[in-house]
């Protein structure tokens, strides 16, 4: 085949260009760069404007615009134990923040929306609905110690029983900041959960187990993943009031979104714009389907 014909074929058939040397591929990309950018980013700013408008109604924009957050001044933004204690405080319906059961209820609603698409989705939804009805009387226990039958010691991050007096449901949350979650660790927690369920005379499906991390990942199908950004989106509406508790929670959620998730209300790069759009799409979609 002549060089000229090969060149024509390569131009006409993009599939053949995929086999071309790197220099040719880069040359093609340089020549088509403006068209590709226009296709990828053309409507980005308009969509961000609209999403931000909806996000404002849920308190999201105000949180992202905050110039300060709760944990950075203490250099604790990357410390898991700080998040455990703070989240236990805000999710506790009887704590003095003045938000009542609002944050815990919002978190349960978020889990119900997220977990509905997993296997056993209907059963999980029913279990979470039951928790929601008992949310005002829940007890939230951070860093609860346990010992296995083999004598190993451990602590669960957040252990929530509904209701406190005679539990009928259990929600266990394992939190991860900067470190991966291990299946071995979860196995230890499973033992502690099974013992508690047996003690309370509850069926195994009375417990819902959640991993809260940046990566939105779980190594086990019976531990459900969610992320810090999802948590912040779920709790944001409770920060819309003028109470001290709402203000404190707003600054904590600013830590989650700005320090852990790297989001900003004023993105300086395309990448930051895309990440913000992805977050706002998720956070405002939940509003539309509620």
């Amino acid at each position: 085949m002549s060089h000229d014909l090969a060149e024509v074929i390569r131009r006409l058939l993009p599939e053949m260009k995929a086999a071309a040397p790197t220099h040719d591929r880069v040359e093609w990309l340089e020549a088509n760069w403006e068209r590709i950018k226009a296709a990828a980013f053309g409507s980005l700013e308009a969509e961000l404007l609209e999403l931000s408008r909806v996000g404002t109604t849920r308190g999201l924009t105000q949180i992202l615009s905050s110039s300060i957050d709760l944990l950075t001044p203490l250099r604790q933004a990357q410390r898991e134990v700080a998040h455990t204690q703070l989240l236990a405080y805000f999710l506790g319906p009887a704590r003095p923040h003045g938000l009542g059961a609002g944050p815990l209820r919002c978190f349960l609603l978020h889990l119900k929306r997220q977990l509905g698409r997993f296997a056993r989705g209907e059963a999980l939804s029913a279990r979470l609905n039951d928790m929601i009805t008992k949310v005002a009387d829940a007890v939230v226990l951070p860093e609860l110690p346990f010992a296995t039958e083999a004598g190993e010691l451990g602590r669960t991050d957040l252990w929530i029983e509904f209701p406190r007096t005679r539990p009928e449901n259990l929600l266990v949350i394992e939190m991860k900041v900067g470190m991966p979650v291990s299946a071995t660790q979860l196995q230890l927690y499973d033992g502690a959960i099974s013992r508690r369920l047996a003690q309370a005379g509850l069926a195994p499906d009375a417990a819902v187990k959640v991993i809260l991390s940046y990566e939105y990942f779980s190594p086990r199908p019976d531990w459900f993943p969610t992320s810090w950004r999802n948590l912040a989106a779920a709790l944001a509406p409770t920060t819309l009031g003028e109470s001290e508790g709402a203000l404190l929670l707003k600054f904590y959620l600013a830590t989650l979104l700005k320090e852990l998730e790297g989001l900003t209300a004023t993105p300086q790069s395309r990448r930051e714009q895309l990440r913000l759009r992805s977050f706002l799409r998720l956070a405002t979609r939940d509003v539309e389907t509620e």
């Binding site: 790197t22 591929r25 880069v26 068209r35 250099r75 852990l260 300086q268 395309r270």
Partner: protein, 200 residues
């Protein structure tokens, strides 16, 4: 003349937009699947391959030689996933061939809106990283040694301290990158506070 690689050169010339395209999954409207496949091949796979070549070269010839010149031993190498979302390669350092790690030095390529793309040397620890990094930060601050703290888990940074970095420009050569990495690492290893920083 740059020998970083054609795809990496393109990526650096169009850093902001290329970074964003890496994260897009599906083809945007108006771009065919075949064209999108070509775009992805350059901004993702080919760039990744050329970055790994660059990192191997600067770690082998720059970082490792600085460590040996400081009469320390390179004990082990860590693969490219310490910075989970981006690119890095790291070596652990010891004073003797006794398998006692004193610290981990890594080379990473990253970027931010203000500084642009950069090549840097970072400090980490294999044991109790959070505790040791806090101690190292205090030691560096006490001795007025400048460092950069990415602290951005969405790019994989979880507290590692960048003890020196240079802008990564499309015109750079592998030799220039190697020299920069060697200079940064040598400067840190020769710090009076090094024994305090390295101790675990």
């Amino acid at each position: 003349m740059s020998d970083l690689g054609p795809a990496l050169g393109f990526y650096l010339r169009h850093f902001d937009d290329a970074e964003a395209l890496r994260e897009l999954g599906e083809a945007p409207k108006g771009i065919s699947q075949a064209e999108w496949s070509l775009v992805r091949r350059v901004v993702k796979f080919q760039v990744d391959s050329e970055v790994q070549s660059l990192l191997r070269a600067v770690v082998r010839d720059g970082l490792a030689s600085a460590i040996r010149a400081a009469e320390k031993f390179v004990l082990s190498e860590y693969g490219g996933n310490q910075i989970a979302k981006y690119w890095s390669l790291a070596l652990s350092i010891g004073n003797h061939q006794d398998d006692l790690e004193r610290a981990i030095f890594g080379v990473a390529i990253d970027g931010d809106p203000d500084f642009g793309p950069w090549l840097g040397v970072y400090l980490n620890y294999s044991r109790k990283p959070a505790t040791n990094l806090r101690r190292a930060r205090s030691a560096l601050e006490a001795h007025e040694v400048a460092f950069h703290d990415p602290a951005n888990p969405d790019r994989g940074w979880t507290g590692q301290l960048v003890v020196g970095r240079v802008r990564l420009v499309p015109e750079a050569t592998v030799a220039e990158c190697t020299t920069s990495v060697c200079t940064i690492a040598t400067s840190m290893l020769q710090q009076e506070s090094w024994s305090l920083i390295a101790a675990q």
